[in-house]
Symmetry: C2
Subunit: 206 residues, 2 copies
DNA sequence: ACCTGAACACCGTTCAAGT
DNA sequence: ACCTGAACACCGTTCAAGT
């Protein structure tokens, strides 16, 4: 037993609060999280969190920021796996985007769901989100340089890619419109979307 | 003055509650809505709503269902405007999807945001959502019959179309990743996405 | 049938006080 | 510096009681 036997009293209460909040959110959704509940979970008084977070929202932001960092790392890993194949990167990055959202569905809800994004943009959160997104831009740009994707302004390509992967992820975690009644795995559904996005919806002009 | 001067006492308290809830949600977001606040807004005791809604969630569902009906009607209008041009229908329907979401951003958050979708699917809500979605399927199918869209199973085309429009709408209402810093109007951004979706991201094989 | 008022067990947040 | 306990103004929900 150290002089500071209780880990929550020598500096990592902050980390413990974020960890507990992340777990509780995954159990009951972001809107069911109570600051008092988090305090109870780490066995601390209900006022203690205020030493480390200005308010409940600040704690939620810390959870979301961690989520964006995790997403960015997952994207980096996947991109590094096929350094010279932008088409493969595009498909794999979208798949991991969808997979990350499903594996941490409630946290993804918090990250993308408007609970935080709406009011004050909170620079730190905004930065973490944009950093994750910047990977998608890189994939498209490299693919254009290699002649894999259509040349010209990358903006439209990036937007379409981004909207499609984000949209599928959101639909899957919300079970929107009964999408889960389709029997395919998330990965198979993303392949379906990605293939159509790559090839286009229009019939070839024969 | 009728014998029942107060409109909330002769049968339309239910409708008044839904209307007030819709307004309050648009002002402060779905998570800030309090049932007591709604009751105050229609000048009724805080227990009165329980005569008409089992709980707070049931009231939120009623608001969301109304939203899906509005969306369905808007899609019908747009589809009817170009009865013989599926390509035009596809573009216009996506634009109206995005526009409806932006014009009722907080209600859209409620409709798509997982606050309701997650736990119990609630058949009535699920049906309203699927009815709105079925319009997209119709557009793609008609386009395939006319040879405008690529033939074969419509599933992949529908999923890509749906994910892209839904994804762009969600990104816009959440200002995700600073998408609003782009200067284009929502309609222009959708056109960018739609054009790339129609033509495909891949470079033509020369 | 429809609404009210009190009551209960929760919240988020603040603040004096303890170590 | 870091945490506690009481306090305040809110919630959602229930229930006896009123008309």
């Amino acid at each position: 037993m150290q002089p500071t036997a209780n880990p929550y009293h020598h500096g990592d209460l902050k980390a413990a609060l974020v960890a507990a909040a992340t777990r509780l959110i995954e159990e009951g959704g972001p809107s069911s999280l109570s600051l008092r509940g988090v305090a109870r979970a780490v066995k601390v008084s209900h006022a203690a969190p205020y030493r480390h977070f200005r308010n409940k929202r600040a704690l939620l932001e810390a959870v979301a920021i961690e989520g964006f960092r995790d997403l960015g790392k997952a994207l980096d890993t996947v991109i590094a796996q096929s350094p010279d194949d932008p088409r493969r990167q595009m498909i794999d990055a979208g798949a991991i985007y969808v997979r990350e959202a499903i594996d941490n569905a409630q946290r993804a809800q918090l990250m993308f769901g408007g609970l935080l994004q709406r009011d004050d943009p909170s620079p730190a959160l905004q930065d973490a989100a944009e950093a994750a997104f910047s990977r998608c831009i890189g994939i498209i740009r490299r693919g254009q340089r290699q002649g894999v994707f259509r040349p010209g302004s990358s903006k439209g390509l990036v937007m379409a890619y981004w909207a499609a992967s984000h949209g599928l992820a959101m639909l899957l975690i919300n079970d929107g419109f009964g999408i889960r009644s389709l029997e395919e795995s998330p990965e198979a559904l993303w392949r379906l979307v990605a293939d159509n996005l790559l090839a286009g919806l229009l019939a070839p002009p024969t």
